[in-house]
């Protein structure tokens, strides 16, 4: 292991790999990535694999549009022969109440202004898009045909390999145990494999980013919560689009392989970092599917897993440097959407760290977005 580096990135998920790649691409040297488990072993590897542009805040719309545009050509850009299995089959958002439908209408206005091809759909159109949907439970919906899904493992691997080719060193199964700060500056990182002296640390540790920040005396408004998922046996494709409802509390997608991947949230989810599965989730999920998508309730469940959402007060990510110490950069608090924002995270953070002209303006996503609670713009579209 190196004992000195210019940049230490903490977290080997899509964000860490994308930041490493973009730093190296812009000519930065001596970059290391430290990952507690294996590359893609945290929340990226546990995510639902969907990517969408249908958001309620302008910033989230811009970040996701940038990322989806990138994902369209990512395999070529990253020279990844395997491909990342990106399929744009759309996201059908379903509104259970008139107020939720009104929110969708407001969101579509924001999305349109960002150049996102989303539209409001009636109950009848929703039925055409998803014939097995019980439309008695909805009042309407929204659809964006450019939304879709891709393989999180292959995508992260594509960034990882591209970064490696550019000289980035990766240390999997290495845990950060402390961060040394001297005179208000980052001096180095203690890990289970040794000490690395470095002036810059990039914190993209997902559900553990607040703990990492704390090691340097930095407080960030990021709270983790467990989110659970289950997957069914595979069948011949019947549902091209992701179906997602916020009031109904469900997202459900048929994967390329034919299995259905679905999840929902629970306000009482564990916040201690555990990623175990519960029978309560299986029970709640099954009941929702049974009424909303009765056809799919016939399928067997193959397995369950869980990952961590790193929530911020407004469900928008943080791209900034820490105030308390010099040298710690923050790319965290993705609020369940870090995989979707992977490409933009890498570009925006590399620009910020290297002091380049910003490719995309992410200034509104600094820590100051949380300083005045009365002006906080809260993302409404989160499951």
């Amino acid at each position: 292991m190196k004992n000195r580096a210019d940049y230490v990135i903490i977290g080997g998920g899509v964000s860490g790999c994308s930041i490493a790649y973009n730093l190296a691409k812009n000519g930065a040297k001596n970059i290391v990535v430290i990952e507690k488990k294996y590359i893609c072993g945290g929340s990226t590897g546990a995510c639902g694999a969907g990517v969408r542009m249908q958001w309620g805040t302008e910033m989230n719309c811009k970040l996701s549009k940038f990322s989806i545009d990138y994902y369209e050509n990512a395999a070529q850009a990253l020279d990844y022969a395997d491909g990342i299995e990106f399929k744009q089959k759309g996201y059908l958002l379903i509104a259970a109440t008139n107020s939720e439908f009104d929110q969708f209408k407001k969101n579509v206005v924001v999305q349109k202004a960002c150049g996102i091809p989303s539209r409001i759909v009636s109950k009848e159109e929703a039925k055409e898009l998803a014939p097995h949907l019980n439309t008695d439970m909805i009042v309407g919906g929204a659809f964006c045909e450019k939304d879709g899904f891709l393989n999180p493992f292959k995508t992260t691997d594509a960034f990882y390999r591209a970064a490696k080719r550019l000289g980035v060193e990766f240390y999997p199964y290495t845990q950060v145990t402390g961060i040394t700060v001297e005179n208000g500056r980052i001096k180095g990182v203690d890990t289970t494999q040794g000490y690395i002296e470095c002036p810059v640390v990039v914190n993209c540790a997902g559900g553990f980013s607040a703990d990492i920040a704390k090691m340097a005396g930095v407080t960030i408004p990021v709270k983790r919560e467990r989110h659970q998922i289950l997957v069914t046996e595979p069948v011949t494709p019947v549902q091209p689009a992701m179906i997602m409802g916020f009031k109904l509390n469900i997202y459900i997608q048929q994967s390329l392989h034919g299995s259905f991947i679905m999840g929902r949230n629970n306000l009482n989810e564990a916040t201690d970092g555990r990623v175990t599965s519960t029978w309560q989730f299986l029970d709640e999920m099954s009941k929702t599917v049974d009424t909303l998508l009765p056809l799919i309730s016939k399928l067997r469940v193959i397995r369950q897993w869980a990952g961590l959402y790193a929530m911020t007060p407004n469900r928008q990510p943080i791209y900034d440097k820490a105030q308390e110490v010099e040298g710690m950069y923050l790319a965290c608090g993705f609020s369940g959407h870090g995989f979707m924002f992977g490409p933009v995270t890498g570009v925006a953070m590399a620009d910020m760290i290297l002091g380049l002209t910003p490719t995309i303006d992410v200034a509104p996503l600094g820590l100051s977005q949380f300083s005045d609670k009365s002006t906080l713009v809260i993302e409404p579209a989160v499951v």
Binding site: V235, T236, L295, K298, R300
Partner: protein, 101 residues
């Protein structure tokens, strides 16, 4: 093949049933699984693997391996090794992952 005589076990077969495998009429007995009846009718090919399209046959016989999944009366992915045979059942081999109906 059916075991007719066994040193320890005795077989009390139920009444004879008629079922159809890919449209072909076959006989089985009440109380036996679909797979037991198919096997006794000397059919070994039950379907094809979904990725590589290789032939699949009877394997674990206890509902674990998914090798014997067939479409029964229109329902896909039925584990025929643990499902009992019924009169008039229509069993079909699956060439793919099964169609949800």
């Amino acid at each position: 093949m059916r075991i007719e005589e066994h040193p320890i076990l005795t077989f009390e077969r139920g009444k004879e049933l008629t079922f159809y495998l890919d449209g072909e009429e076959m006989k089985g007995y009440e109380g036996e699984t679909i797979q037991a009846a198919i096997h006794a009718n000397k059919v070994k090919l039950l379907g094809y693997s979904s990725e590589l399209k290789r032939p699949r046959g009877f394997y674990c016989a206890i509902g674990n391996c998914s090798s014997c999944m067939m479409t029964v009366d229109g329902v896909a992915n039925v584990k025929t090794c643990t499902t009992l045979l019924k009169e008039g059942m229509r069993v079909e081999t699956q060439k793919d992952k099964g169609v949800l109906r």
